[in-house]
Symmetry: C2
Subunit: 321 residues, 2 copies
DNA sequence: TTGTATGCGTTATCAT
DNA sequence: ATGATAACGCATACAA
């Protein structure tokens, strides 16, 4: 391995001068700087991240933690983060699984964006207390080193339920999300409120898990007790996909017997038949805003909690009852 | 920051003893080991990755480089890698963009899996020569520190074309992939061979880019010159999705006027109507095999190039002509 | 079994 | 403008 020491030797200068030259410190003459750069090139010098980090206590790498890599959900979100961070000279790495929490602990990362149930609030607070900068996308958590960038779940759920009611439906199912999920809880709570506010109507909740399987199971249950057109609010789109599949080989039709609206407006929602009505928001923007806040936090500028607004996208999965 | 030095002081031992105790070195008494561990706990000691890495020249972190985070394609692949690596005590991070190549260069990573056109062959050879261990998923490249884990593209493309011909089609389009893509080139080459081998038939190629837009454009071209049922082999599924969308508001029907088979068998392919015929392979297995080979390479065990086999999944997107 | 001492490659302070 | 040198936190060869 070739180090600045080798460069110093070959160039006939001290390692300090080499370091200065390599880092563009103006204290060194243009002439010697050039020579040093040339030598570095010739020797194929590559800086050593570990040494630099040990000294500077900064890696210029940020992490995004996801519960899982699966789900067509994350692409745009991550792209939004990456672009924003790249502009500012930071690199982004995506991590998943409790095992990899050590990267945050041990200082591989200057900060992280969390969208990952596998982190407990306690653990995040612990990291924050140790000086790590965090942006949380999936919970409310208060600490000077933590900023929240949350979806406006309540607005979305309200839009969804009102949309169904507006189409004259009087019988409503909500397919819920995993217990402990902040987004799921917020959505459910707002859905219940909207139902209450809109007078007497038949209402039931089916436990879901945000995955296709639970969506399919919900569909089974719905058709098993079917006695006339129903409306369904699935707390995310993924479950709706499962529902479509489960209904495929039955006589029940989406948009006719079962009217459904989802949440997230994932890409697939535009391709399934009939097109799915869903709550939409810019995933890219969500990622970009999160990244921006994290950078502000790290660079000591003022950072604030942010909210990502949502809107309803209509679809043929909902018709008049 | 609390270091082993602090622990040593509090426990009344030397830093060497602390280091031994922390690393489970049997040279230290169970008694002192316990005391040291207790003190470490009390002080909330967290090891410093940079220091450890500087000394050991290993991070126990592996990278997967992707051209982009977008596309519903990667979830399972990455999950396969993560599981395999996790078992062996390695962490996985996902990286994208040339900017982040420095992580490989500067020693943040012990090795990497490459599925990323943004790496040139030269760059990869450079890294390999510097001692980095690599697994490539998207090219043929020979070096003692590089192993290939490639899809059997040729078999897949052959299956696809034969499937179309078997259904009596005499007019065939191939929608190609981006120039320079190994997978695209392999598939195209095999498709051409299969066409030649199967006697005279009308054949044309439409340049594609592996994204939805180019699929939609291809659909436009096909209907603009439509004069009777045609068969289409899209070199990946993503383009087929674009094709479905473009055809949606036209009188032309998939599986009736336009018979199409894709490649990759992405999840969406099972949900679009009619269900897409496509070339399938286990993405999870691809990831797991790649991870396994990378680990063998790193641990100096013998590693070999591997091939991932593919199969045809039928669908209603292809019917008899 | 435990302690001492050295070095990993870099940055940065202080001399010169 | 350049050089000598002391950290940074840890692992480990060697001494005790």
């Amino acid at each position: 391995m070739v180090s600045i020491k080798d460069i110093a030797k070959h160039a006939g200068v001290s390692i300090a001068t080499v370091s200065y030259a390599l880092n563009g410190n103006p204290k060194v003459t243009e002439e010697t700087r050039k020579k040093i750069l040339t030598v570095a090139q010739e020797l194929h010098y590559v800086p050593n991240a570990a040494a630099r980090t040990l000294k500077k206590r900064k890696t210029k790498i940020l992490g995004a933690f996801l519960t899982s890599f699966e789900g067509a959900f994350y692409g745009e979100l991550l792209q939004g983060m990456k672009e924003e961070m790249g502009k500012r000279g930071y690199d982004l790495v995506i991590c998943s699984g409790t095992q990899s929490h050590r990267m945050l602990r041990e200082g591989f990362l200057d900060g992280a964006i969390i969208l990952d149930r596998l982190f407990s609030d306690e653990e995040l607070l612990f990291h924050a207390t140790r000086g790590h900068k965090l942006v949380v996308l999936d919970r409310e958590l208060s600490h000077p080193n933590i900023v929240q960038v949350l979806l406006d779940n309540k607005a979305g759920a309200t839009f969804a339920v009102e949309y169904l009611l507006r189409h004259g439906h009087k019988k409503l199912y909500v397919v819920t999300g995993p217990t402990g999920s902040y987004d799921a809880e917020q959505r459910l709570q707002a859905a219940r409120q909207t139902v209450e506010r809109n007078g007497p109507l038949w209402y039931a909740e089916i436990p879901g898990n945000f995955d296709k399987e639970s969506g399919a199971a919900a569909a089974q249950r719905i058709i098993s007790e079917y006695s006339g057109p129903v409306a369904v609010f699935c707390l995310n789109d993924e479950m709706v996909i499962g529902m479509y599949r489960a209904l495929k080989d039955t006589p029940y039709r989406i948009g006719e017997h079962i009217h459904v609206v989802g949440f997230d407006h994932i890409e697939t929602a535009d391709y399934i038949q009939p097109r799915l009505a869903s709550i939409d928001y810019s995933k890219r923007r969500w990622g970009a805003v999160a990244a921006e806040q994290l950078l502000k936090l790290i660079e000591g500028l003022g950072s604030e909690h942010e909210r990502i607004y949502v809107s309803l996208v209509e679809g043929e999965s909902v018709k008049r009852s």
